[in-house]
């Protein structure tokens, strides 16, 4: 049975190696470009913020001008001011990993980190 010659086996091995190589690269490429923060006001998505632009900004939304958010250059986002009674939103601190979230219930606001990547590392993150 001479159908597969040495050369053929070599080519198959090369295909395998290249395939595994691609697979490995695909799975280990940092997916920073796809990480975004979504801001919800009473379950309605009101803003999407790209976390990978390297921009620093402080902002509010029209519905809740007394609640202030801060985005840092390294792509971390947080509540920095709020007129709520418990300040749990501010105490949550900076979030930036897909699966993390921060909420201000009295103001009906939820900030959530999401990733376009189907293979998100985390289904959820607690203790943040």
């Amino acid at each position: 049975m001479d159908f597969f010659k040495k050369k053929d086996i070599l080519i198959i091995i090369i295909i395998l190696i290249v395939g595994i190589g691609f697979w490995y690269t695909y799975n280990n490429t940092p997916n920073d470009e796809t990480v975004k923060a979504e801001l919800y006001y009473y379950n309605e998505l009101v803003m999407t913020i790209d976390l990978s632009q390297g921009i620093e900004k402080t902002f509010s939304i029209a519905q809740k001008p007394k609640v202030v958010f801060h985005l840092s250059e390294d792509g971390k986002i947080c509540f920095i001011e709020s007129d709520c009674p418990d300040k749990v939103c501010i105490n949550t601190g900076e979030i930036y990993i897909a699966g993390q979230s921060a909420a201000c219930l009295p103001n009906g606001l939820v900030l959530k980190i999401v990733s376009d990547d189907e293979d998100e590392k985390f289904d959820t993150i607690i203790g943040n």
Partner: protein, 351 residues
């Protein structure tokens, strides 16, 4: 030569297929809602269609809302006797309540025994003082004050859990001490999540997550391929980076964290959080956070509070004495302790 080329192409396609696709009929959906149990709720589920998932979400929401209203100590609801009704009738009369309240109170009495009194639902009189001082202190940080110890000690003479009289047959609850009150904060959320997740599983959901605040309950495996759910536990040290994040792999289990990092107020530069040690009547200072992994979300909730209020030796003894329970303790300086099987659930420590 053409034949061979075709074979190469086929091999390549097969390889690409193996790498790129896992072809299942279930799709991932998620939904969120606010307000229940004073926190956010997230539902993740693998379902055949959006409609089917919506049905599950509506069911979970309705069930959780009912538990929320029954266990509420602050608000009244039309036509419902809840825990506030029981508190309002302390020393006056027994209150007829839903079986779900009776079941939770029986569970809570057992929890009290199992944790050497470190989780006490009859601590309401003490907790309400802290709640009042904390709320004022957050609102007006300049004038934040600590409650005087005498006040706390006086309240503590009305925290005997034996004065919670449960009549299972007639489905009534009576607080025989008129000064006492129930506070289910350490226990109700986990218990409700457990009951609801069992119910939705019975209804047919095979793969899902119910996340209520720091309580995570996994239903089955993730998707159809028997994968584990990836749950991140972050070091509560706000300054720390991704280095201190554990990736936990669970299926059909619960993870609950208790910590000092969200609900607190500051008096003269020192933080005072909301988990009160029934023995000292002050916020427990052993750890920054404790995380418990076990099957039952209600037990995980109880244990995370109990462990938070215990020195490490006592806590480890408690964890190791119970089958299927693992824990992570994080000290104030970031140092950590683990139970013997904790790392069985860790897929990667991303350091």
């Amino acid at each position: 030569m053409i034949k061979k080329t075709i074979i190469y192409i086929i091999i390549t396609i097969v390889l690409l297929y193996l790498v790129a696709c896992s072809n299942t009929g279930l799709k991932r959906y998620s939904a969120e809602f606010l307000f229940l149990f004073d926190t956010t709720t997230q539902i993740v589920g693998y379902s055949t269609s959006e409609e089917e998932f919506s049905d599950y979400v509506n069911f979970i929401h309705k069930e959780l809302e009912e538990y929320h209203q029954l266990y509420d100590i602050y608000n009244e609801y039309d036509g419902i006797n809840n825990v506030k009704t029981i508190n309002d009738n302390a020393g006056i009369s027994p209150v007829k309540v839903d079986k779900r309240i009776i079941d939770l109170l029986l569970f809570a009495k057992k929890a009290y025994q199992d944790t050497d009194g470190k989780v006490n639902i009859a601590l309401g009189s003490v907790l309400s003082i802290w709640h009042e001082y904390r709320t004022k202190g957050v609102d007006d940080p300049e004038n934040a004050k600590l409650p005087p110890l005498e006040l706390l000690e006086k309240a503590n003479s009305h925290t005997d859990i034996d004065n919670v009289i449960i009549d299972k047959l007639n489905s009534t609850v009576y607080l025989s001490d008129s000064e006492m009150s129930l506070d289910l904060g350490a226990i109700a959320k986990g218990y409700a999540v457990e009951q609801v997740s069992k119910a939705v599983e019975k209804k047919g959901l095979t793969s899902g997550l119910i996340i209520v605040g720091g309580n995570v309950r996994a239903i089955g495996y993730k998707g159809e391929d028997n994968e584990f759910w990836n749950i991140g536990i972050r070091n509560p040290d706000m300054q720390s980076d991704e280095g201190d994040l554990y990736r936990m792999n669970i299926a059909g289990m619960s993870i609950v964290s208790s910590g000092d990092y969200l609900r607190y107020y500051t008096v003269e530069g020192k933080k005072y959080h909301h988990i009160i040690d029934p023995d000292t009547l002050y916020p427990s200072e052993y750890y920054r956070s404790v995380t418990v992994i076990c099957e039952d979300s209600g037990i995980a909730d109880v244990l995370s509070t109990a462990l938070y209020n215990m020195p490490i030796d006592q806590g480890k003894k408690l964890v190791e004495s119970r089958e299927g329970v693992e824990a992570l303790w994080v000290y104030n300086d970031g140092e950590q302790e683990y139970s013997s099987g904790f790392f069985d659930y860790v897929s990667a420590s991303l350091e």
